[in-house]
Structure formats: structure tokens, C-alpha cells
């Protein structure tokens, strides 16, 4: 095997330990020096309802998207795994439990669907775990053990990560899991002695700085910690909860706190209160919770109080598809809520950006005295990449507060009109600057005033302030050769990786195409976007919503209609889909 690029998938029923196995695999592979991009999907119900799939792409170079073709499938439950068959590569490797607890009718076993040319490895995961540890729970580890043996993966890393994962549950649990893993490993060593495959170990193992496995959610939490966030207020909701759980383990050490509130309304309320008093705080939620927050978010806009809100998008509307990915809250994040309530909305495209943009959002919120919404989605939140521990960029995390001048003491107007729209903001406890903040329309002093002139002036002030933030926000990034392009692909959030992957492949195929990454959703960099568009024959905007929300937001910048590629399948968009569309637009057949 030459350059390494392998996608390994584990599929089982919820309760089979699928996700846990995927996590262990990713960690071990990362430690061993591989580059990792992984994404799990699991059902909303804890048990019974459905299928869990972890997909991990390992490579020598950084992976930016998941592909739709799987090289290795580990089936922990054949009934569930049958649905994965269409995604298998022609030479895929399939590991399955060849001693299920009951007879299967013809076709119910995954073995029935493995085409010649694929390689079938049967091992009795359940029995191996049961015989090694007395419990079938370790079947996922037995499966991992078999995988490790077949691919000759470095064993020590697996043993380490298993020990680390189960340490908190006591030595006996660690031992039981080690035993299950070893049982799988030994079985495979023996039974598949002549079918061991092996993959190249990256030369970088041990040389580069140690890499961390970070999910988007953890990166957000780490970014917040880098910005020295003090409080997290939240309410459990998939897929945002892991941010709360991660911070719950970290904040108390730093004199901070996580408070689980009774609902999302109180969560955003507490965040606003905290910022009002000058302390950094945040909350994270998903669509339904975000909807509950909209009133108080607009309160933050009106009262010019900072807040940091992560909206981890999932399938909607309403309760929707809690465990599926979608990018359909964009317009709600930008425009949602009563009145003209412009606020800052940013959307990272990968795990590293999750970290940096979150870190920076606190300063933005303070400086522009507005709620800042970080839009992520289920895929980005849960996908795992391994990267060198990020550190905050200069300037990102500094105090953004604009304090009033000494001269204004005793004569302080909280909402004083300025050129930029930014009014210096005093914090409670500062003597001589007392003011009322309100969600009612108000004059510069902060007292209510509903006069036509005042409402006009103050609305304009708030809008000017938000637009002036553009200078501090990330500009779009072009990935293209100079000159005319047949197709320009603009994408955002978690879909951008797939777009770039597709564009890179298209460029390798000799097509004149380019990509534009947009991470600042509102206010947006109209000039830069227009400049990119102007050298493109066609603009293609792939995104995971039905109406084309980014296309709606920025499409008017292009003289023609932009071409929309919309999917609401609940799963990430694959590069191959975008590539096919690019080729179709240009008029080339096939992939």
C-alpha cells in the first residue's frame, strides 16, 4: 500500500459500544502518528432505536472531509451494518461477529453481502469477550483487538488508551477491557495468521509534537477556556451537551463554574447577566433551545449586552432530528427574533477554527457589545480531528471591553452616539457611571424613549456598530489559481471541507475551479465575496439545508442566479457529490 488513506467504520446497535470503540481507535491511531478525521452518528434514543456508526478516516496528511467509501467495516450488529454495504470499497475488509446469539435467515448476515474481492474476517466478538471477561460487554474491544491484529497496529497505544479510558471505573474494569481486547487480538493473530495485512506506520510517530484528538465541541470549550471564560450556563441538548460536560470538568479548577439551568431561557439570561457584570460567560444549545433564546438574544442586541452563544445545528424543524447534521439555522441565527436585531454570526469550518473563533468571540462580544453566535453543526461538533494543541492567536483573547473615560464620570451616557456606534460601557461597581440597561428603546442615557426620531437614530447606531465589526472579523479565504474560473464553489461550516476536497480533486483533474471559504456569516464581507464571484463563470453553493440559506444571504452579490446544491439527508455532504455537480456544470461526464 502506498500513501495511506484509509476509512474505517464501526457499525452497531446503540448499546454495542460502537462509539466507545471508535473513540479508542481514533486516540490510538492518533498517538501512533496518523492524521485523523472521525465522525460518529448515533440515535436520539439511548437504546433500541437505532444504528450507531463511527467513521474514521486516517491518513498521512491532514484530512479535511469524509468520503462515502469505506475501506474497513467492523460490524458489531449485522442487522444494522447491512445498511453500510453500499458504501464499501470494492476491496473492503469486513470484520463481523461470526457467532451471533441466534440463527440468521439467509441474507441476514453481513457475510451474505460481501462481494468476492472484499475480505471477510469472522471472529466471535461476543464469545471472545464473554470468555475473557465473563461479560459480553467487551465485544467492541474484542473487535478492536481483532482489527489491531489484522492491520498490525501498534498494540501499546491501544492498551494505553483503553487503560486511560476506563481508569475512572477501576482496575477491574480496565483489566476486563484489556482482556477482551487481548482475546480479540490473540484470536485474530492465530486465526488470520496468513491474512495479516498491515499498513504503513507514519514516519512521523514520536517526532512531531504530540497531537490531541479534539472534537469540534471540545475545541469550542478549549477555545472558551483559552479566553478565560468564567461561567457556563446551559441546559442539556444534543449535540451541544458535550461542551457543558467538558467545561464541567475544567472550569472549577480555574475558579469558574458550570451551572446547569432549568431551561435555555434561563441559560441565555444568566450569560447576559454575567457579561453585564463584566465576566465572560457562554452558553451552547441547539435549534430548539436556540429558538427559546431568541427573545433574550434580541434583548442583548437592544440593551447592547455581550453574550456568546453556540448554536450546534441539528436536523429541524422543532425537535427534528436531534442526532443528525444540518445547516438550517443560518437565517434564524442572522435574522431570527423580533425587530431589526443584527448581531454577529460566525461559523467555523473545522475543529481548529472552532477553537480560534470561540476564543475570539468573547472579545468581539465585549468590543461590539452584542451577542455573538457561533454556528456549528452536529458533524462539526462531533467530528474528531487530531491536531497539535492549539494556542490562542495574539489579540484574540484580550479584554474587548471599551471602558468609559474618566472624564465622563458622573456624566456618563451609556448609549452615547459615536461614529463607530460603539459606546463605552461601564460595568456595575464602577463608581460614577450608573446607568439602566433595558430592552425598551432608549435614549443615549438609557432611559426609555419611543419617539420616532430616537428609534430611528438608535436603530442606525446599533446597525453601524455591527457593520463596523467587519474589520475584526475573518475575511473569506480563496483557494484558487489566479484568472478566470469556470466554477467557483462557496461553502460554509462543516460542508466547506468537502467543497475544498472536491475542488482540489477537480483541479488535479485539470478543471478551472476554485473555492471560497466564508466563515463570517453576519455581517459579511460583501466586497471580497463579490471579487471572487466576479472571476467565476458560475457560482455553486453546496450546503446542508433545503432552501439554500447561504445562497439566499449572499446570492444577490452575483449578477446571475447562483447554483444551489442542497441536501437534507442528515449526513454530511461528501466531496464526491460536489465533484459530480462541478463536472456536470462544466459539462464533463462522470466523477
Amino acid at each position: 500500500m502506498g500513501k495511506l488513506d484509509i476509512t474505517i467504520e464501526i457499525c452497531g446497535m446503540s448499546g454495542d459500544g460502537t462509539i466507545a470503540a471508535g473513540g479508542l481507535l481514533n486516540t490510538a491511531m492518533s498517538r501512533a502518528g496518523w492524521s485523523v478525521l472521525a465522525f460518529d452518528s448515533y440515535p436520539a434514543e439511548i437504546r433500541g432505536f437505532g444504528r450507531c456508526v463511527t467513521r474514521s478516516r486516517f491518513g498521512e496528511t491532514k484530512q479535511i472531509a469524509l468520503e462515502d467509501s469505506t475501506d474497513v467495516l467492523i460490524s458489531l450488529d449485522d442487522k444494522q451494518s447491512l445498511s453500510r454495504i453500499p458504501f464499501l470499497a470494492d476491496d473492503a475488509v469486513v470484520l463481523f461477529d461470526n457467532k451471533p446469539s441466534a440463527h440468521l435467515a439467509e441474507g441476514e448476515s453481513i457475510a451474505a453481502h460481501v462481494a468476492p474481492g472484499m475480505a471477510l474476517y469472522g471472529a466471535p466478538f461476543l464469545d471472545l469477550a464473554s470468555s475473557a471477561s465473563g461479560s459480553g460487554k467487551g465485544r467492541n474491544l474484542a473487535a478492536l483487538g481483532a482489527l489491531a491484529a489484522i492491520y498490525n497496529l501498534p498494540l501499546d497505544y491501544f492498551r494505553e488508551v483503553i487503560a486511560a479510558k476506563f481508569k475512572s471505573k477501576g482496575d477491574r474494569v480496565v483489566e476486563a477491557n484489556h482482556k477482551s481486547f487481548d482475546a480479540g487480538w490473540e484470536y485474530a493473530r492465530e486465526q488470520f495468521a496468513d491474512r495479516i495485512r498491515g499498513i504503513p506506520i507514519p514516519g512521523t510517530a514520536g517526532e512531531e509534537p504530540e497531537k490531541l484528538l479534539l472534537s469540534g465541541n471540545v475545541a469550542i470549550a478549549e477555545g472558551a477556556l483559552a479566553a478565560n471564560v468564567k461561567s457556563y450556563f446551559g441546559y442539556p441538548i444534543t449535540p451541544a451537551t458535550p461542551i457543558m460536560e467538558y467545561l464541567a470538568g475544567k472550569l472549577p479548577e480555574r475558579d469558574g463554574r458550570v451551572v446547569q439551568m432549568e431551561d435555555e431561557i434561563s441559560a441565555i439570561g444568566a450569560v447576559l447577566g454575567s457579561f453585564f457584570a463584566g465576566t465572560r460567560a457562554m452558553t451552547a444549545t441547539s435549534g430548539p433551545g436556540f429558538a427559546l433564546m431568541t427573545e433574550l438574544i434580541t434583548h442583548g442586541v437592544m440593551s447592547e449586552t455581550p453574550a456568546v452563544i453556540v448554536d450546534a445545528q441539528r436536523g429541524g424543524p422543532a425537535t427534528g432530528l436531534p442526532t443528525k447534521t444540518e445547516q438550517s439555522d443560518l437565517l434564524a441565527a442572522v435574522f431570527g427574533g423580533p425587530g431589526d436585531s443584527a448581531r454577529i454570526v460566525i461559523a467555523p469550518t473545522d475543529v481548529t477554527e472552532c477553537y480560534h473563533y470561540t476564543a475570539k468571540s468573547f472579545r468581539l462580544a465585549e468590543k461590539y457589545q452584542t451577542p455573538v453566535i457561533i454556528l456549528t453543526d452536529f458533524f462539526l461538533d462531533n467530528r474528531v480531528e487530531n491536531l497539535v494543541r492549539p494556542t490562542s492567536r495574539p489579540g484574540d483573547i484580550e479584554d474587548g471591553n471599551v471602558y468609559p473615560a474618566i472624564a465622563d464620570r458622573w456624566n456618563y451616557h451609556r448609549y452615547r452616539l459615536t461614529e463607530s456606534g460603539i459606546s463605552p460601557r461601564a460595568l456595575p461597581g464602577m463608581e460614577g457611571y450608573i446607568f439602566p440597561a433595558t430592552g425598551l428603546e432608549h435614549r443615549q442615557e438609557g432611559v426609555p424613549d419611543f419617539s420616532p426620531e430616537n428609534h430611528m437614530v438608535m436603530s442606525q447606531k446599533r446597525r453601524t456598530k455591527i457593520l463596523s465589526a467587519l474589520a475584526d472579523l475573518e475575511s473569506p479565504v480563496e483557494y484558487a489559481d489566479p484568472g478566470r474560473l469556470d466554477v467557483g464553489v462557496i461553502s460554509w461550516g462543516s460542508s466547506f471541507g468537502a467543497a475544498l476536497d472536491a475542488v482540489n480533486t477537480a483541479r488535479e483533474q485539470g478543471l478551472r475551479v476554485g473555492a471560497l471559504k466564508v466563515t463570517t456569516m453576519y455581517p459579511y464581507h460583501a466586497e471580497e465575496i463579490r471579487a471572487f464571484m466576479s472571476r467565476c463563470q458560475e457560482i455553486l453553493i453546496p450546503e446542508l439545508n433545503l432552501s439554500g440559506q447561504l445562497a439566499t444571504l449572499i446570492g444577490h452579490l452575483f449578477p446571475k442566479d447562483v447554483i444551489r446544491l442542497n441536501m437534507v439527508t442528515g449526513i454530511p455532504i461528501y466531496p464526491s457529490v460536489i465533484l459530480v455537480k462541478i463536472r456536470e456544470i462544466i459539462g464533463v461526464q462522470g466523477r
Binding site: S101, S130, S131, G134
Partner: protein, 596 residues
């Protein structure tokens, strides 16, 4: 539907329940249940309580384990070596997906090997009844009958044609399979009950059957099958041609015949194998067992076949002998090839000799182990009495009111364990006929059981191999070297762990079940079912389940004991403690004064 089916307040039923008394049942449905769910005990002709003795051995109660055996099968130490093991064929652990059967027989032997040297089995004795029974033959059937009759209070006299007791055990089974001191020890345990034995008396020849009938209240013929079946082919009388039984009797009596270099054994039973292996020990170099069919149909166990082949004996299939060749001494056997025909009534393919395919195999010695039949014990007028076969194979009675038959004599050649079972049943028949009372009867005993300490990992212990003398050459130093060495105590314990203990019955109390399916989640196989209906047969025993996955139709969650491997996981997780365990086993009820 009555809604008062919640006979409990909120207490843990496991904690406060009083230990209930065992129940004894003679309901045929319960016997049917046992047949389906404790297949080993059902397979044993003597109904040995196998799970109980394996469990006793597991608890290191070797004496107890031996005694449980002794209760049913009289000769545990002997059977532990020579039993045909019908139980193991039926062992749950040997079901297709579950591995290999438990080494039931070897555990039996271990119990005998490791019981206290001074351990004496205390037989329950009844007051003398003042009646006497004569038994012809001291083989396993005669000994078993003597044991039961004697302990019930009869005076028993055995008439034995040979000079030593044991019948086929002594004369039919080679010493490398059954050391004689083991045999004698257990026979002594029976004779000790006050059984008289007269050696060297062949009834009908040395003594008149009429006299016996006159002197005793009953006479039981347990004379076995000592007439060799002949093939009825030319040349069988040539020197160098032996019948299997005669060959074995001479070997076991210490006067072995001379065997040549090339030996052909014609036959497919245990005797054929014993003859072949004995021939090797007498110096033969090239021994073949010639089969009419193929190995597929042998009754001999797989282990036995492997050991025999390892010693160098060859098995040759599809051979039908036509005649012995030779002038002054046998020089060979002419065979025809056999071929398979259509499927017969027994579901097996018929084997037909092919005319015109004759060929000759040279041989220096030929042993015809084609089976035995009984030699009738005759009256003075040369008549003999036939068993009343109309009443079934094990009817034991004959047309003569005082004359009974049992063992191989009644059934034709069978196994040791069948002979013992037959002897005991014949004794029961005699007791009932002579006293009008039943002192022993099989009943189903049920008792609430505590959860066992079985662990799931034990289910994955492989069957412990029986150690045999290796290298094979060492076996031939003397003909007495016992080939199977027996488990050491640790191995026996390990093997005992493997037993699922099928005598434990797991049941969900529908009245208390909340249908949460926790048990199904932890079940190791599809042993717990969501059912719409339970199907029963005319006896009222469960024969099937109509399963469903429609919530509306899930009328009960039930444990299918015929799939259950008694791992106990369900019981450990049940949130409402609605799973009960009953120890259910077939035992012999002994009536102090006898009953109807």
C-alpha cells in the same frame, strides 16, 4: 381479566421468602419436561442424576458425587470407564453452537477415583421378607438386580457359570480399559449385602432350572449373550479364525490365543475394537477392522475410534466377507465390495454386497466379532421360556409365572448401562409381583433453588481431554496398562464447571413481570422470548412458543428452558425479582414400607 394478580407489597421477594418444601410429582408432563430439558438424565437408561453429581464434584464432595451415581447406576467406577455414554450425545453443551458435550462419564470416573479410600456406600436395607430369588448370571444386569432385591429384603443367590463374577465386565472387556481391582471392589460392594454366589454352575447343564424354580420364589435369568453369532460363511471353522467373544474370554482369562502378524477383525461394535486392540497387545503387526458400512455408522465413540487408530489399527469400509481362505490354517478372507443403495426405513442408506466384485485379503488370524446372542437356559425337556415381548422390550416377565429375564439375555446385546437399568427394573417387577408393593418409583422432585455461582466464562472452557498413555508404544508393555489415565482432580473440577446444570429451571413469574426485557438484553442466546402463546401437547407440557415482536401481542416474556444455558444473567438483572429457579430432577422415591 382479574387485576388482583399482584399478590405482593413492595418487598424484595428474594429476601423475605421462606424456603419452601420440595414437591414430588408424578405428572407425566413433568417427566416430559425433564426429557426435553435435562436431556442427559433422560438419555441415561438408569436415569442417573447427572447434574447433581457433577455439581457435587464441583463442590469437592467426591463421596457425595459417587453416591448420587451409586444410587442409580450401581457401578460408578466401572461405568466411568466403560459406559457407552448415551448422556454425552444429548448433552446441551454439545449442541451445534455451544461447543462439545461435558465429559460426564469422565467426571463420574473422577468421583470414583477421588472419593475417600475408606468411603463405604451405605445401602438402605429393609427387614428380611423371607423370600428368596435366584439369579442366573453375575453380569451387570444380574448384579444390579441382586443389589436391589437384596436391599429390599430378599435372599438372593446368584448362579455364575464362570469362576469369577462380573460377566461381560470380567470376560468381555479388556483390562487396558477396565482394571480388575476397580471391578472387584464394586462387585464386592454388592455381594456384601448378603448375596450368595455360586461359581462354576451353568444352569440347565450343571443344575436343573426346575430345581431352581422349586427352591426359590422367583428366578431371574440374566445370563447375557454368550453365543457368538457366526457369519455362516465357508471356512469359519479353520484354525486361526476366532469369534470375538471367545477371543476376549481367552484374553481376559489369561490364556490368550496365538495371533499372527496380519489380523483381520470382522465387525463394527465395541467387541471388534477391543479384539483389534487386544490383538495388537498380543504382538500382531497389522490389524484391520473390516466394516460392511462406513465409520459414519459406528456406535463406538469418536474418542475410541481415534485411540484405536492411533495405536495403528486400520478401519476399512465397504467390505462384506464371503468365505475364509486356507487349508490347514486360515490364510485370508474373500470379500465383496458393498455399495450404498436407496434410503431404507431407518433413514439410512442400505448397503448391498456387489456380486462379482470378489477379492481376497491375506490374513494370519481372523476374528469374527459379528455379535452375540443368548444361549437359552433350558428346562430338562430342552424347552426354554421366551420373554413376553408383547409387553415391550423391558417387560421382564415370561410365560412362566416365576421366571423372569433381564439384561442382554432379554434384550440382545446392548450396553452395560442398559443392562444395569434392566436388572434394576426387573428387580422392581419381581418385588411388586412377590409382595404386591412398590418400594421404589421414579418421581420428579422440585425444590426452590438458590442462584448458582456459575460464571459465564465457564461456558467457554474447552472440554478437557482425557489423558491417555503416550507415546502409544508405552501402552504395549503389558496388556494390563490402562490406556485412559483419568482426569486429575483439578481437571475434573475444571470439567465439572462446564456443566450448565440443566436441572435448574428458570421461570419468569408472569404475574410480577413488567415486560421490561432486561433479561432478554443480557441473555447469551435466544433463550428468552416475547410470546403471544405457549403451545402445549396433550400432556400439558410445553412444546413451542409463538413469538411476536408486536408490542400489543406480547402477552408474556418467557424463558425457553430448552434453549436456556442456565447462566443466571437474567436473574441477576431482573428489576422486580420475578425470575425463580427451581431445581427439578428425576429421583427414586423410596417408600419405607413399600406402597401400591
Amino acid at each position: 381479566m382479574p387485576f388482583d394478580r399482584w399478590p405482593r407489597d413492595i418487598v424484595d421477594p428474594q429476601v423475605n421468602r421462606e424456603k419452601s418444601q420440595p414437591i414430588f410429582s408424578t405428572d407425566p408432563a413433568e417427566f416430559y419436561y425433564l426429557g426435553l430439558n435435562v436431556p442427559c438424565q433422560r438419555a441415561c437408561p438408569a436415569a442417573t442424576n447427572i447434574p447433581a453429581y457433577i455439581r457435587a464434584l464441583f463442590e469437592n464432595h467426591y463421596n457425595r458425587s459417587y453416591e448420587i451415581n451409586r444410587l442409580s447406576n450401581i457401578l460408578p467406577g466401572v461405568l466411568g470407564r466403560v459406559c457407552s455414554r448415551p448422556c454425552e450425545d444429548k448433552c446441551r453443551h454439545g449442541e451445534t453452537e455451544l461447543g462439545e458435550p461435558v465429559g460426564i462419564c469422565q467426571i463420574k470416573r473422577a468421583a470414583a477415583d477421588y472419593k475417600d479410600p475408606g468411603h463405604t456406600y451405605m445401602t438402605r436395607l429393609y427387614a428380611p421378607l423371607g423370600k428368596t430369588v435366584a439369579i442366573i448370571g453375575s453380569g451387570p444386569a444380574g448384579l444390579a438386580a441382586a443389589h436391589d432385591l437384596s436391599s429390599t429384603g430378599f435372599k438372593v443367590v446368584i448362579y455364575e457359570a464362570f469362576n469369577q463374577p462380573g460377566g461381560m465386565l470380567m470376560y468381555g472387556i479388556p483390562e487396558f480399559r477396565l482394571p480388575r481391582e476397580i471391578l472387584m471392589h464394586e462387585i464386592d460392594g454388592i455381594l456384601r449385602l448378603g448375596v450368595d454366589i455360586r461359581y462354576g454352575v451353568k444352569v440347565g447343564q450343571d443344575m436343573a432350572l426346575e430345581d431352581l424354580l422349586k427352591d426359590h420364589d422367583a428366578v431371574l435369568v440374566a445370563a447375557g449373550c454368550y453365543a457368538s453369532t457366526r457369519l455362516g460363511i465357508p471356512g469359519e471353522g479353520l484354525p486361526g479364525v476366532h469369534t470375538g467373544l471367545d477371543f476376549m474370554i481367552r484374553v481376559t482369562s489369561g490364556e490368550p490365543p496365538k495371533v499372527g502378524k496380519k489380523v483381520l477383525v470382522l465387525g463394527a461394535g465395541f467387541t471388534a475394537f477391543d479384539c483389534a486392540r487386544s490383538a495388537l497387545r498380543l504382538g500382531a503387526e497389522d490389524v484391520s477392522i473390516c466394516l460392511r458400512r462406513t465409520e459414519e455408522n459406528l456406535r463406538v465413540t469418536g474418542d475410541e475410534i481415534l485411540e484405536t487408530k492411533s495405536e495403528g489399527v486400520r478401519l476399512e469400509s465397504l467390505l462384506a466377507s464371503r468365505r475364509m481362505i486356507g487349508q490347514a490354517h486360515v490364510e485370508g478372507v474373500e470379500f465383496t465390495r458393498t455399495r450404498l443403495g436407496t434410503i431404507g426405513g431407518d433413514g439410512r442408506q442400505q448397503i448391498i454386497a456387489i456380486e462379482g466384485s470378489e477379492f481376497v485379503r491375506p490374513a494370519d488370524t481372523v476374528i469374527v466379532a459379528a455379535g452375540q446372542r443368548r444361549e437359552p437356559v433350558k428346562f430338562l425337556d430342552d424347552n426354554h421360556v421366551e420373554a413376553e415381548t408383547a409387553a415391550g422390550d423391558h417387560a421382564y416377565v415370561t410365560s412362566h409365572p416365576k421366571l423372569y429375564v433381564c439384561g442382554d439375555y432379554a434384550t440382545g446385546p446392548s450396553t452395560v448401562i442398559e443392562a444395569i437399568a434392566g436388572g434394576r427394573q426387573a428387580a422392581g417387577r419381581i418385588v411388586e409381583d412377590l409382595t404386591g408393593r412398590k418400594f421404589r418409583e421414579p418421581v420428579v422432585r422440585m425444590e426452590e433453588a438458590q442462584v448458582t455461582d456459575r460464571q459465564r466464562v465457564w461456558d467457554f472452557i474447552p472440554r478437557q481431554a482425557m489423558p491417555t498413555v503416550k507415546p502409544v508404544g508405552d501402552r504395549f508393555e503389558t496388556p494390563q496398562v490402562e490406556v485412559e489415565l483419568g482426569y486429575d482432580a483439578k481437571t475434573a473440577h475444571e470439567e465439572a464447571k462446564r456443566c450448565y446444570l440443566c436441572y435448574l429451571h428458570y421461570e419468569i413469574d408472569i404475574d410480577r413481570c413488567i415486560y421490561c426485557r432486561y433479561c432478554i438484553d443480557v441473555a447469551p442466546r435466544d433463550c428468552i422470548k416475547l410470546v403471544e402463546r405457549i403451545e402445549t401437547n396433550e400432556m400439558g407440557a410445553i412444546v413451542g412458543y409463538r413469538e411476536t415482536s408486536h408490542w400489543q401481542h406480547v402477552n408474556a416474556v418467557v424463558i425457553d428452558n430448552s434453549r436456556c444455558i442456565r447462566c443466571g444473567e437474567c436473574l441477576r438483572v431482573c428489576p422486580v425479582n420475578c425470575i425463580t429457579v427451581t431445581r427439578i430432577e428425576q429421583v427414586e422415591r423410596i417408600r419405607p414400607t413399600g406402597g401400591d
